[in-house]
Symmetry: D3
Subunit: 317 residues, 6 copies
C-alpha cells in the first residue's frame, strides 16, 4: 500500500466504490512509521444517557465522506500532499459492556500512539474521548479545544454512576489527562439541570465561552481567547456535533436548539491552524435520528477541516 | 400534589416516564389558588385553510419537552423556583365542528381565568387564540406581541367565511379583546394575496415590523419599538411557529421561506422580560409535516422561554 | 382512582389527552389488591448487540395505543369489563449500566409480584425478560410461549460476555426460571451464525417451530403443539416484535425478512386463550428505526390481544 | 378536446408532464354527453375525527397515477378503448366549514349527474360519500359495495354531532339514498368502542362480512354473498383505503392493523365485474401520513381497477 | 385562454386544484405574441455524475409553487399585473439518451425564442443550461449571473467525456453563447478536486466570488461587483439550488455544506432588478433526496423572485 | 488473502467494520483460480426510463448485507464452507454515457469470465444484464430464470431508442445470448402499455408465468414448469427487486403493486437448487426511494439465497 490518496471523483463516480473515510485506502493493521494520520471509527454509544445511535456514526460518516474532495477551498492545499493519511478501520468495542469497551478503546489507542500515528476518531458517543485520551496521553496533560453545547463535566448520573457521555472531561481532568487551564469549551448553551452546572469546570480553571458570549464578543475576540488559553503546546480537539444547531445536524442524541450554523463552525475551526493538535474526535453523530444523512455529511466535512488543521493545510480568507 | 417540579433527568432518563409538558405533574382538575401558570394543550386545527395537522401539536410538544431542563441558560434562574407550574391537560374540542369548538375553548379558558391561572397554550392552529382571548379578557383589551410570518387579520375566506386561522386577530380587534394600538406584529413576510393585505391592521393602529424591516433596523431598535408600543399594561403573547424559518421549523401548515433562525427568535423573546404577559400561546405546530420532531423540539424550547418571561426568570446576555 | 377504564374516543378525540397505555389511568404507586393487570414500560436497551433504540419503545407504544378501542373485534368482549387494568408508568433503569439496570428491573417486578399484579411489559430490548422473570418467578419455573425470529439462547458474545438481548432465555433456563420442556419458540428464521445455533435449546427440551415448519404444518397443527407443550400450568408470554415481518414492523433492531404478517400473528395469539399466562412482554420495538410509528401501532394492537388473552376476553372466529 | 386518451409512457416519460389522473386530459367544465366517466378530486377532510390530511389525497393520487398504464393486466382490455374518460378537476370545498362543504359537494355532483357522467371520486375523508350520494341518487336508493375496516354507521360523536367520517352511511340509509338490504360491507375489523357498534347496520339489513369471516369463508363464497346481496340494479362502490392493511397503505387517518394485502384487494374487486356501478369513490388517503407515496400509488391502482369495473374491462384469471 | 392569472387561495384552497407552476393556466402549445414569460419544466438529469433525481424537479416544484401568492412582499407589486405568464408544460426529453435530449431541448427553446417568450426553466440538472442557451442565443453572447457552489466549468469526466452537469458553462463559453467577461459566479465553495479547478474560468475572464469572499466583502460591495460586471446588456440567470446551504435545500445531488441561507439568497436576488435578464433557470432540485418537499418550496419561491426580477416587480427594502 | 470468510457478528458487532458484501474480504484485483464466486457492484442506472437511483444500490446493499449471517436457515449449510467467495468491488461505469458504460461493463465481465469466477452482480438498473451477458456468454446461449414484474422485452422507447432497462432481454435474445425456449419469466403483473406487450417474447418461445397464473397454479406446479423449461444446462438468474411487492421493497424505480411477499420469493428461489446457474444479478434497488433501507436488506437476503443456490447450500423444508 504505497499511495495514500483518495479515489478521484472524476474517474470513479463518488457514489461508487467501497465506503472508506474520504475514499482513502483502508489499512487495518498499520505498522510503524508508515502512516502520519489515521482516521478511526469508534462505533460505540454505551455511555449515552438519552437518545442512542452514535454506534452507527462511523459507517454513515464513511459513506458521506465520499462527497468530500481533496483540496481545501480557501488554502487550495491538500492534506494528502503533505501527509500519509489512511482509514484504519473501526476500533474494537463491546456494545453491551461499558467497562470492557473503555478498556478495548484505551488499548487500541495506546497501540496507535506507539506507532506514532495521530488519530482522528469518528464516534461514537462522547464518552469515547476518555479512553482515547487515556491511550494517547503518556507524558503530560494536553490542552483542548472543545466544541460542544454541553461541558460534559457532570460528576455522575442515576445515583452515582461515574461513566456516561456527560462526564468524560471531569474524569479526564481528574486523571490528569487534560490540563484544565489550557481547555476552552466553546458554544455551551441550552437549559440547565442546575444553576451550578458549569461551576466545577470553571473552578478547575476551564475557560467556557457560551454561545451567547461568543456572539457578544464576536468571532475575532472569541478566537483570540481560544488561542491564548490553549497556547503552543500539544492539544486535543474534541468536536461534538451537537455544538452545531440541530437543524443543520439533527442526527444527534441530545439536540440543543439555537446553535452554530455549519458556516460559523467552519469559520471557527479555520482560526485554529496554529494550534498543535495531536489528536481529535468528531462525536455524537447518531444516524438513526438523522435526516437524509445530512449530519453525516456535515461531520465528514468537519473532519476534513480538522484533517487540514492537523496537516496545516487549512485556510482562512 | 404538593410539588410542582419537573422530573430530573439525572435521575430518570429524559426519554423515560410519562410525556407531560416539561415533565411537570399533570393536574386536569385544578382548584383555586393552587397553580400560578398552567400549560394547556388545545388539539384542534379546524380553522386551517391549507395543510392541517396542528391538532397533533400538543402531544408531540409534550414529548419533545422532555429534553428541556429546569434553568434558563443565561439568567441561571428557574421558573419552577418562583412559580407553581403544571400541565393542565388538553382543552376539550370537537374536531369536526368549528363553532362547537370555539365555544368549548372559550368556556375552558373562562374557567382557567376564574381560577387565577395564567395560561400558556400549545396549539392547535392560530384560530384558537380567538376563543382563548374571549375566555381571558374580562375587563379591557390586551396589548399583544405577535410573532408570525402572517398578520392573520384577513376578513374572510371562501366566499365570506369569517372564522379561519387567517382571521383571529381581525375578529379579536373587532370584539375589543385586543387594543390594536398596543399590538406589534413581528416577522411578517412572504408573498401576498393582495398589495392591501396589511392595510386593515395598519389602519386600526397595529404596528407591523416585517422581517425585512427588522433586519434593516437591527434587533435593538426593533425591540425598542416593540416595548414602547406594548407598554406596561397587561399583554398577550402569540407565537406562531411559522414565524421561524421552515428549515428550522418545517412542521407547520403554511411555511414561508426566509424566516428567523431559532437563535434569532430566542434573542427576540429575551428582550421582552419587562412586559406583563398574562397569557401566551405557541401555535401552528403540525407534526404530520414535521421532520424528526424538530419543530416540536423548537416549540418546546420557545415555550420554555415564554414561561421564563412570564415568571421573570428569562435572561439576556 | 376508582375507574380503570380507558378514555372514550367518541368523547375525547383519540389524538388528544395524555398518552398512557390504552388511554388508561396512570398509577405509578399502586397499592395491594387494587389492580389486576399492570402495563409497564421498561425503557432500556443496554443489552442490544446490534441496532439500538428499544429504550424509546414505551413512549411511542403508549402514544400509538390511543388508537386501540375497548372491545375485542371477534369476542366482542372487553378486558376492562372483567379486570382492573392500569398503566403503572416506567420501571426505573440506568441506560449506561447493565448490571444496575438488571437489578433495578428485578426489584421493580418483585414488588409488582408482591402486590399480586400480573404485568404486561413493553420493552425495551429482550434482555429485560430475564430480570422480569427473576422478579416474578418465586416458586417454580414457568412455561413460555416465545414468539420471535431468534431463540435468544446464545451463550455469550464478544469474548464471553453473558448478558445481551441474545442470551436471556439461556440464562433463565440455567437459573430455573423457565421450564424448557414447557417452552415453545415459534417463528424462528433467518440466516445463522452457526449450524448449531439451535442445538443447546433443543437439547434442554425446548420445542422450536421454525417459520418454515409452521407453514408446513399449518396453523392448526402448529398451535396444537404449542398448547400441548405449554399445558395448563402457569406460563409467560414473550413477544419479540421481530417475529413479525420487518415490512410490517420495521422499527426493530435485528430485522429478519420473511416473517409473519400482523394478521397471522393475531391469528396465532387468538389460539392461546386457554393458557394461563401470569405475565407477558412485548419487546424490541425500536422507534428510531420505525417508519411513521407503524411498529408501535402494531405493538399496541399485539399488547391488546395479549391483554385480552390474560383476561380471557380474546376471541377466535 | 377530442381525444380522451392518457399520455403514453413510451413517448413522454411517466414522471414528466402535468399530473392529471392517469395522465388523462383535464376538463374542468364538461358539457353534456361528452364524457362517460369523470374522475374527480374532493380535497376535503373536515369530517375527520382522528388524524387529518385526506384533503391532500387528490393531488398525490393524481401524481402517483402517472405510473398506471392503459390496459388491464388480466383482461388485456383498456377502459379508454370503450369509454370517454377525463379528469374533471377538483370539486369546490371549504376546508373550515363542514356544512358549506357538504352543500358545495352535493351541488357539484348534482351537476355531474345531470350531464350523464358517472363519477369516480378521489377523497377526501369518508364523509364525502354522503353529499356525493345526495347529488347522484335521484330516483331510488342504490345498493353498495363498501370495502372498509369500519362500517361508518355510528350515530354521532362528541356529544351528539351527526356529521363525521364515521357516520356517512347511517345518514345515507336514513335519507333513503342507499338500500341497506343491498349493501355489503367487507373487511370490517379492529377493536370496537362498544360490542353493539355493528348492530344498527345489521338491524337495517346491511350484510357485514368481517375480515375474519372473509378468510373463514374464502374469497369464492364471500364474493358469492356480495354479488347476491347487491344484485343487478344500480349500485355504488365505496372503497376506504383503510380496508387495506396499513403496512400496504400507511397514509390514512384511522389505521387498523391486520388488513387485506393489495393483491387480495385486487382479487376482490375483480370479482365484481357484473355489478352495475353508477359511481364510486376511493377515500381516506392521507398523504401527510404516507410513506414515500406508497398509499397514493395503491389508491391509483385501485381506482384503475374500479375504472375497469365500470367500463367492463376488468379481468379475472 | 384570456386570463393569465393564478388561481386565488382565498377562493380555492391552495392544496386543491391541478398543480401548475404558481397555479397559472397551462398552455402547452403557445402561439406567437400571446405570452411574455413562459415557465417550463425540463425533467431530465442525464448529465448527473453523482446523485440523480433532478428529473423529478418540475413536478414537485409545480406542486410546491401552489403556496406562492401573487404579490412581492417588499415591492407590493405582482408580475401578473404587468406580464402575461403561463406554465408551458414540460420540454420533451429522453431519459436514457444524452445527445438526443440535448437536441430535443435545444429545439424546444429555439421555438420558444421564435415566439418571443422569455423562459424561466425548472430543471433538471445543470447540463440543461447548455441546450437552453443554444436555443435562445441567436445573435451575440449573453452575460450571466450564476448562483452556485460549483463553477460547472470542468473540461471532462470519466476519461474525456465532455457533457455532464459539471461542464455546461465551459461548453457555453467555448461555443460563444456566453461572454465570460460578463459572467459572475457567486457562492462558489466546497473542497476541490484540484487547486486549479477555478483557473480556466478565471483565465477566460469570468468573475468568481466565492462564498468566503462574499462574506468578507459584504453584500453591498459584492453586488456592486456583480452589477458592474454584467452591465446593461442582455443576460441570463442560472440558479443552482445547491448554492443554498443543503440544510435549507437538501434535495440536490451534490450538496456542499456551509452555504447561503434562503434569506441571504433572496437578498442577493433582490439586488439584481436592473439587470436585463432574457431567460433564467433554477436547476438541480432532486426530490428523491428532498426532505418533506422543502427544497421544492424554496425553489418555487426563488423562481417567484426571478419572475419578479424579469418583470421588474421585485423589491428591496 | 487466504481466508474467504465473513467477519463474525459474535466478535465484531454487525454494524461495525467496513461495509463489504456479507462482510466478506474485498479483492478488487482477483487473479486466476483464486475465487469461485465474486460479488460485484454495478452502480449504474443510465438505462432508467422512470425513477432513477439504482446507481446507489451497491453501496446500500453492501451496508445492509452486514445483517446476513453465514448459514442457510433451512439447510444449515454455508456457502463459505464450500466455495471461495469475495467482494470484487464495483465495476467501472460512466454515469453520463450509456454506450461507454455498456462497453465498460462488458469488458469487466469478460475479464471475470476469463478468471473462471461466477458473478453475482448487484445493480444498477436492469439494462446491466445485457452487457453482463455479453461478457459471460462465450459459447452458447444460456437459459434464464427471470423474476420480475415486467418482461423487459420492449423494443424501443422515446422514438426508437433501443437501450433502456425495459429492453435488455429483447436485445439479449436477438444477440443469441439467451435461448428464449429456456427462459421463464415469473411474476409478471401490472397494467400494460398495450395488449400486445407480452407477445414478442411469447412468439420467441419464452415461458411467461404471470403472478395471477402463479397463484392459480400454486407454487408446486409453477416451479415444475420453471424447472422443466430451464432444464439442466447452464442458466442465468436475473432477479428484479420489483418482482417483490413494493410494500416489501419500496426502493425501486417502477413499482407494481400486488406483488410477491419476501417469504414467497424465498420459497420460489429455494425450489431452484438443481439448476446450474453460472451467473446472477439482483437489480433495480433504488435507495433514494427506499424506506429505512428495507429494500436493501431484502436484496441482501435475496442475494444470499442466490449465493446458496449457486453453491448448492440452499434448503427447502
Amino acid at each position: 500500500m504505497s499511495n495514500y490518496k483518495p479515489l478521484q471523483g472524476m474517474e470513479v463516480p463518488r457514489y461508487a466504490g467501497l465506503a472508506t473515510f474520504f475514499r482513502l485506502p483502508i489499512n487495518e493493521n498499520p505498522s510503524s512509521s508508515e502512516i502520519d494520520i489515521g482516521i478511526i471509527g469508534v462505533p460505540w454509544d454505551g455511555g449515552t444517557t438519552n437518545r442512542p445511535g452514535a454506534r452507527h456514526g462511523p459507517r454513515e460518516v464513511r459513506s458521506a465522506s465520499s462527497l468530500v474532495r481533496l483540496y481545501h477551498p480557501v488554502s487550495l492545499k491538500s492534506p494528502y500532499d503533505v501527509s500519509k493519511v489512511a482509514d484504519l478501520g473501526d476500533c474494537s468495542v463491546n456494545p453491551a459492556d461499558l467497562k470492557d469497551s473503555l478498556s478495548r478503546i484505551e488499548n487500541f489507542y495506546t497501540n496507535i500512539n506507539k506507532l506514532g500515528i495521530k488519530p482522528i476518531s469518528i464516534g461514537g458517543d462522547h464518552l469515547i474521548s476518555l479512553p482515547i485520551l487515556r491511550g494517547i496521553v503518556k507524558d503530560k496533560p494536553l490542552g483542548m479545544f472543545h466544541f460542544d453545547s454541553h461541558t460534559d463535566t457532570w460528576d455522575s448520573y442515576f445515583g452515582g454512576f461515574k461513566y456516561t457521555h456527560g462526564t468524560p472531561f471531569r474524569r479526564a481532568i481528574e486523571e490528569n489527562l487534560l490540563d484544565p487551564k489550557r481547555i476552552v469549551m466553546l458554544g455551551i448553551r441550552g437549559s440547565l439541570y442546575d444553576p451550578k452546572d458549569l461551576d466545577w469546570a470553571k473552578e478547575k480553571g476551564v475557560t467556557i465561552i457560551t454561545i451567547d458570549e461568543f456572539f457578544k464578543y464576536g468571532i475575532n475576540k472569541s478566537m483570540e481567547i481560544v488561542k491564548k488559553v490553549i497556547g503552543n503546546n500539544d492539544a486535543y480537539l474534541s468536536f461534538d456535533i451537537d455544538g452545531i444547531d440541530p437543524t443543520f445536524a439533527p442526527g444527534t442524541g441530545t439536540p440543543e436548539v439555537g446553535g452554530f450554523t455549519v458556516r460559523e463552525s467552519q469559520g471557527i475551526l479555520r482560526e485554529l491552524s496554529n494550534i498543535n493538535f495531536v489528536g481529535a474526535d468528531v462525536v455524537e453523530v447518531s444516524p438513526p435520528f438523522d435526516v437524509n444523512n445530512q449530519t453525516s455529511l456535515v461531520a465528514a466535512n468537519i473532519a476534513f477541516e480538522i484533517l487540514c488543521l492537523m496537516t496545516k493545510t487549512s485556510g482562512k480568507l
